[in-house]
């Protein structure tokens, strides 16, 4: 087991930031910690890193208890923080080299590691630039390079793509998958469900410091009733016609609002075909129609009653 968190409780005064959190991370996986802002993701990470005091629970890394002076464990961990943590006075190369020097003393080995990190985040041509000269996306890549240069066994990434343009975000996500393929175990926190769906092998959903669901994305989606959502746009439909639609097999919820109809199905086959046939039979005119599988946002919505993006 790479990370084992048992019954973790953390309070800030009266606020319960982590409510008996349990978490295991297996070797080689990318575990996603998904939840809205303030759900306890960063607090959990800071507790795992032995930065924060906690009220109850146990944390072990690589089967050893984690502590601030557990230097052998710390040497195997890399951290990419939510805030860019680099020195404005140093160049890109020097920043990576400085943070790598906190882990690797041998200069020849470090030189090689720094160059590999630069190549990995594709910042070679910016190696002599100061951070202030880099764009937001490049700065995030530098932030990642500083966290991965010493080749950690466990990489903890706390919302590394906040305020990053889509192109840079894709590059970062691809990089994370590449690191994982090279054998790095990763804990990835985000409130972007698409990112978590895209790269994580397993997901823990947090809300108000509490673990509300965990599993693979398929397992999570199977936990909820929704299996297919069909949306019909530019539709004008009457109440009796909606009542006709509600007779459809597997349909458990039908909402009509602002010329858009949303029909939710618990499963079954050919739901779209059956819906279209009913609309034709009732002589209802409509525009665009599309069918969607449930997302993690739907999972979150169904469990908590609120949008993940709130």
């Amino acid at each position: 087991m790479i990370v084992h968190v048992d019954n973790l409780v953390k309070r800030y005064g009266d606020l319960l930031a982590l409510d008996h959190l349990n978490m295991d991370v297996e070797k080689g996986e990318i575990l996603g910690l998904l939840g809205p802002n303030g759900s306890g993701k960063t607090t959990a990470i800071n507790c795992i890193l032995a930065l924060l005091q906690y009220d109850k629970g146990n944390i072990s890394l690589f089967d050893q208890p984690m502590a601030p002076d557990a230097y052998d464990l710390k040497r195997r961990i890399g951290v990419v923080l939510q805030n860019v943590a680099v020195f404005e006075e140093l160049t890109v190369y020097e920043n990576i080299d400085y943070f790598c020097s906190l882990y690797v003393k041998e200069s020849a080995k470090r030189k090689q590691l720094v160059e590999e990190a630069l190549r990995f985040v594709e910042l070679q041509e910016f190696s002599k630039y100061r951070p202030s000269k880099l764009s937001g996306g490049l700065l995030r890549r530098l932030n990642i390079a500083c966290g991965i240069a010493h080749k950690p066994d466990l990489l903890i990434m706390d919302e590394p793509t906040v305020a990053v343009d889509p192109q840079s975000r894709n590059a970062i996500l691809e990089g994370i998958k590449k690191l994982n393929a090279l054998g790095t175990t990763i804990i990835y926190t985000s409130h972007y469900m698409e990112e978590v769906e895209q790269i994580c092998t397993r997901i823990i959903v947090l809300d108000k410091g509490k673990q509300i669901a965990k599993g693979t994305k398929e397992q999570l989606k199977n936990m909820i009733a929704l299996k297919e959502k069909i949306t019909v746009e530019q539709i004008h439909i009457t109440a009796p016609q909606i009542a006709q639609l509600k007779q459809l097999e597997n349909l458990y919820e039908c909402n009509y609002q602002g010329e858009t109809l949303e029909a939710k199905f618990t499963g079954g086959n050919h739901n779209l075909l059956h819906l279209m046939e009913t609309l034709q039979r009732e002589a209802v005119a409509f525009g665009k129609v599309y069918s969607e599988k449930p997302t993690l946002n739907d999972v979150f919505l169904e469990i908590t009653g609120k949008e993940l993006r709130d």
Partner: protein, 373 residues
């Protein structure tokens, strides 16, 4: 290890704000001090003083006095520039119109309006004349040589030479306050170091905190770099004031350097202490340090010597624990007594102050985990 040192040096040296306030600002302040004080303290002594002498019967009958006035008002090194007036009212008009600094009605009556250097010189000159009238009279009666009379006059003008020396010393003392202030400014370097080390103050501090590095080692590296940089800044300031502005620190320069070194250590450790115990906000900590330094400076008499006297007589323990007071007191002891036990007391007090602040900062920094980030 070598890389950590090198990069920490670079990080701190390229902090433009720190460099400005620690180096550029004191250099500018010293230059302004020099521009403002040098003329005020030195220029007066070299200009002949304009004086009106009433050509009345007293003056006409006193040939000795006429001879002395003629002696001191001729040549390149003339002390006085005399204007003879026909009446007292004419002379007073010249005084009123600021054409002269004083009016000699007779050798026992001098009229002046201001209380500046020139008026003081005139008053001292006249007092000296009266005191030494007999001696000069004898010299003239004996037909003494001009050299002998000049020698006697030199005794009279010794107050001018003394004023020049005192001015030079006063000029140097004015720069002690800048050295004292800059020493305490080391606190900003200490604060920057803590900012870079503490996880609850900066993301860089978080990165350092999760790395397998001992806090004491990181802190020691930073405090040594801070001292090297900051003490170099003090030496640059002393070199600039000495070689460019012409401030003479005399033969006790090593004492000034020694107390500046101790002051630098005290400032840096004070900065570390305030950063560890005040707030998590770097800017707020900077302001707290500035306010603390100003308060200490005020209590040590930087704005008024009376405050220093009041504190030392009514709250002596406060004077003893005030780091600015320790620095200025040591610098003044160099000026007045050439060092001595008072200097060493202040020096040791500064070292103790440094050690206490540093240890308190370390005990806070070594805390295993934070309650919040």
């Amino acid at each position: 290890m070598r890389y950590s040192w090198m990069y920490r040096f670079k990080c701190l040296l390229l902090d433009k704000t720190l460099i400005f306030w620690s180096l550029c600002f004191p250099l500018m302040l010293a230059t302004f001090f020099s521009l403002a004080l040098k003329p005020a303290l030195t220029d007066h002594t070299f200009k002949a003083i304009h004086v009106a002498v009433v050509n009345n019967t007293d003056y006409q009958n006193d040939t000795a006095f006429q001879a002395v006035l003629k002696q001191v008002s001729t040549g390149e090194d003339a002390i006085l520039n005399i204007t003879l007036t026909g009446s007292k009212s004419e002379a007073e008009k010249l005084l009123k119109d600021d054409k002269v600094d004083g009016v000699i009605v007779n050798k026992k009556k001098l009229l002046v309006e201001g209380s500046g250097m020139n008026e003081s010189v005139l008053k001292t000159f006249m007092d000296s004349y009266i005191q030494k009238e007999a001696m000069i009279m004898d010299l003239i009666k004996q037909g003494a040589s001009q050299e002998a009379i000049e020698k006697a006059l030199m005794q009279d003008t010794s107050f001018i030479q003394k004023s020049e020396e005192e001015s030079a010393q006063l000029f140097a003392v004015s720069f002690y306050t800048i050295i004292g202030m800059v020493s305490l400014m080391g606190g900003y370097w200490g604060q920057r170091s803590i900012y870079d080390l503490r996880a609850d103050q900066s993301p860089q501090g978080t990165r350092v905190s999760v790395a397998p590095t001992h806090h004491l080692r990181s802190m020691m590296v930073d405090i040594l770099i801070d001292i090297i940089i900051h003490f170099t800044i003090i030496m640059i300031l002393i070199a600039y004031t000495s070689f460019v502005l012409g401030v003479s620190y005399g033969d006790k320069l090593w004492m000034i350097l020694l107390i500046s070194f101790a002051g630098s250590g005290a400032g840096i450790s004070l900065g570390m202490f305030t950063s560890c115990y005040a707030t998590k906000n770097y800017g707020v900590n900077n302001m707290i340090l500035t306010a603390f330094t100003l308060l200490c400076s005020f209590l040590s008499g930087m704005m008024s010597v009376n405050v220093k006297y009041f504190v030392e007589t009514t709250i002596p323990w406060l004077a003893k624990i005030n780091p600015v007071n320790m620095i200025t007191d040591a610098l003044y002891s160099v000026y007045y007594y050439g060092g001595g036990p008072r200097f060493w007391n202040d020096f040791i007090s500064l070292l103790i102050f440094t050690a206490i602040c540093f240890l308190c900062a370390y005990f806070r920094l070594r805390r295993k985990k934070y309650a919040s980030l």
